[in-house]
Point group: D2
Chain length 329, copies 4
């Protein structure tokens, strides 16, 4: 059993990570950090955590205390700026769910994230942990963004087979926008509404481009659903059979499934799971190919992938503790 600490537990990714850690047979929840809940018992976050039958859950402590508690793995569920300011503990695995360590180039933080990175010199110590495309290396792992995960699961394995003119349009459930209060997250702005946002300027665009090696045009849209995202990617093959390449790449995966011809990815089949579905389609009018990936932004797009990275680094079975669906309606 490895011990685990969560830093920043009260947000959406923190809660989901807590859920995965509690269900993981190889992890013992060692510390629960939250500056707003420090001192309180776990059910202050959610009454479900106080139920009979749960393993004992520790009280909340401060994020600093959780960070330095000596756990075997520390999972950071903080804002980009807060995570960038964290000094990683001297030993143990650290998984950062924010964007603070996804880029080697500090300029991207100034130009795309709007802050000067306070620890540029450490950026090279972090690896980008997208298991199927860019497996984690070393003890400091930047967990990919949700949109980037979907686009890279679709495009990463075929990046050498396609032209460098890729369009990615995506739709996401609103938990992708976080739990902080802002007008765009007010239910009155979300219900029975859909809107694009950060059009042509979203931070996941350089993240996708960085792994692919060429730029992409990326437009995300916010959906009136709680969870899940779909990335619809338009590519042109350089003569290769893209479906075959993707099927081969994911043939052994228990996490990512390439759907049979004609079957479309759906939010409903990936919500509440840590897996992903990929569909491949020819466009009838152009010579383009459409690769579509669906996943749960809080599962494979965040907490599930964090646990998958932990599994890989600790030598556990890759899917240990993950939710890989049944046939839930």
């Amino acid at each position: 059993m490895a011990t685990a600490a969560i830093v920043g537990t009260s947000g959406y990714t923190g809660q989901e990570t807590l859920d995965r850690v509690l269900a993981h047979p190889g992890l013992e929840l060692y510390a629960l950090g939250s500056d707003t809940l420090a001192g309180q018992s776990a059910d202050a976050l959610d009454p479900r955590l106080g139920r009979n039958g749960w393993r004992r859950i520790p009280r909340f402590i401060t994020n600093d205390a959780a960070l330095s508690c000596g756990a075997d793995v520390v999972i950071l569920c903080l804002s980009h700026e807060a995570a960038a300011a964290v000094t990683p503990p001297a030993r143990g695995v650290v998984i950062d769910l924010s964007g603070a360590h996804r880029f080697q180039d500090p300029d991207i933080y100034e130009s795309w994230y709007g802050f000067a990175h306070p620890a540029c010199e450490r950026l090279a110590s972090w690896s980008y942990g997208l298991p199927e495309v860019s497996p984690p290396v070393g003890r400091l792992v930047a967990n990919p963004g949700c949109y980037a995960t979907a686009a890279l699961l679709a495009l990463g394995p075929i990046r050498d087979l396609i032209d460098a003119a890729v369009v990615v349009d995506a739709v996401s459930g609103m938990t992708g926008a976080g739990s902080s209060l802002k007008p765009a997250s007010h239910a009155g702005a979300v219900l029975e509404n859909v809107a694009p946002y950060d059009v042509g300027t979203h931070r996941h665009a350089p993240e996708i481009a960085s792994l692919l090696g060429f730029p992409v045009a990326f437009v995300p849209h916010l959906l009136p659903v709680r969870r899940g995202l779909i990335a619809t990617c338009h590519v042109r093959s350089r003569g290769a059979d893209l479906r075959a390449a993707l099927e081969e790449h994911y043939a052994g995966s228990h996490v990512v499934a390439v759907l049979a011809e004609g079957v479309v990815p759906e939010l409903a089949r990936v919500q509440h799971t840590d897996g992903a579905e990929i569909g491949v389609f020819d466009d009838r009018l152009t010579d383009g190919t459409i690769v579509i990936c669906a996943l749960d932004n809080l599962g494979k797009g965040a907490a599930g992938q964090a646990i998958q990275n932990v599994n890989l680094l600790f030598g556990y079975e890759e899917t240990m503790g993950l939710r890989l669906s049944g046939v839930l309606v």
Copy 2:
């Protein structure tokens, strides 16, 4: 390991039951019945069932074949009339998720269900299996209706402490209405809409009344959500402390939780689980008490409760294989 057969797998309750059986450490899926899918492999129902990493799942056979396959437990996920016409196998446990065996009095089928029960003489062989209020007895078990489960979890333990003038208003996700195609289930009639239905005439009213021993006024409403229901029950105490009575009744339960004072039940906390939440509130203007129960209509309201009944009958731990939540966002 007990062997299990599902009869009528393709509907909502059938799929949920399949999901529970696949995840249950004490059940082996033995036969998968569906007249429409007979002969096809499991992924004809849902591509998730063909994924790597799943246990091998048998091909679909006819419902008759599944019924008579000799499984230790047969779970009926059929329409009321189809279930009423079933001759139970000579041995083994049978759990009926329809309403076909919930009443001893055959007249109720004529007057509330609209058909003459074809096997009145067998009705007395079935017990009503609501574990917390009316535990299953014998090998033939009628699984309660979803609304009835919620109302009876709220009211059953206090039925002797309240006046016989109870109002129950309920709201339910639309999977409660089943997967068959009808105008009221068309998404255009459900999205951004809410409507009461079967006002004062819903079949779960006599089911609730039958267990309580007195009539209730019951009005269900259909919600534009996929899963979950809330029953809001208005009662008048005969001097007893209803909260204390409910807390005592559910003190040892890992399935039903009485929430702390001031905490309201929420759909989001019970969706995709097999548990239930109960809140108890004083009304400020009248001398009434409001008892509110939330559960997932397909979980504790259907497939989860079926598995809980199976666990009780087979001597398994009551919660084996059930989904009793984490802190999923």
Copy 3:
């Protein structure tokens, strides 16, 4: 043409009132008050207001300036406390959409609204303006609450025909909770969720009781829809034909419709309208009657009713400028 000023335009009820005033052939928009938008042009609130083809819309001024601009009618779309603190202009009609002037008894503000009313002596000058049940009298009019409107349209005309033991359960779209940012209004707490709130303690309970003359047990629930509410009311008749009484009461109304037997009220048919639908049903198990009213919380439940009150006070046709539906899908 009467001139109209809106005080507190930026919230939901303010926007809806603006919409109605712009469409009203007998009202000229004279002043648009908003402390947060003062000095800006109308399209700062919504780009639709800057479109070609609209009548010219004045720039925003402060709420104080709008209040004292000398308009023939001033419509207050403020919080309860802010509205209570307003000194009405010396002449002209004032319609208050908040709860600040709905009660003659100042104690209700302390015990139900949580503040001492700063102008108790003026409460008697205000009338409660629910046109079908309690038509506005005088130039100061308190516009009813949304839930209270629905419950009183259902119960007001039959209050003398029923026992004083009434239960009202209601569900409302989330715009009823206002546009201010709070955790319960975050889309992540609303989507695919339903929860009761203010159980047994909601402020509309004494408002309903005050008009009926006897207490009611009232429980509201928040829906994942943008607009509309349904109040399901359980009553016992003292021998009268409640359907006949309601049909007679509303026979001449162009705003409130009593539906034919067997037809249920639906949110979808009243959303975006200023009308209401009422259904009447016998309960099959008890001797109760169920009266259900559906309306749009921002229409008949707020801005539409305000305009209806204005029409009555100015001698305009009652439905002038109201949205009384077509067959919008």
Copy 4:
């Protein structure tokens, strides 16, 4: 006053058309055709149509009778195949909301619509009526498809300024899929779900391409909302200022608005209206431009545009009877 007949009133586009005709000051509803409702009064379709205060509405007659009733304008709200089989009346305007007359090339019906067009020789008599891009000519008008309308409003005015490599991804409310019962329209398949459909094979792709003069890659997605669609179009300019071109093109329009820089189109602002919103954005990573159009699939995407076409052909003011929004929340 021109007389109007609706053929196929009971579907979504038929109902919306009826709504617009009833509200139109220059149209008199002359005949209401529906084979399923023939002989019944209008409120058989919707109880709102039987309300006090409405103009008298004729009883339903058969579609054939409505077609040949001699109305000045006949609006066809039929399926593609049924509309293709219609013999237009000898005089009067005919607006066809289906796809049956949008193409001059009969082969498209065989290859994209799956049926041989029964009246190829008449196809040349019909004009494609997209007022802002391809105004209606003559008395037989094919009303554009909803996605095609959005894509062509965005791209039509700049088709000569962009490269012939365009990607259009779109999301639509589920009323776009029609009111007939099918598994994909069941609320259980739509709620809290999103899925692409007809990927690379949707019939609106050749419709868009036909007007632009070059192919497009088009992927529609079905949303869990009732109304509205957004088309997100990726183009590359040949050096022109696309925003300036679009602003100039729509400068005089009361129907289509080009939003200010930085403002994104939203479903909520166009739902229940007959207008459209266009946003123009530079992509930061590539040299592409993103043009996004939002409209209501049943408004500007169907019935509203039909009425706009009628207005143009009858010399009425272009926006007569249209819903061009207020600030409805």
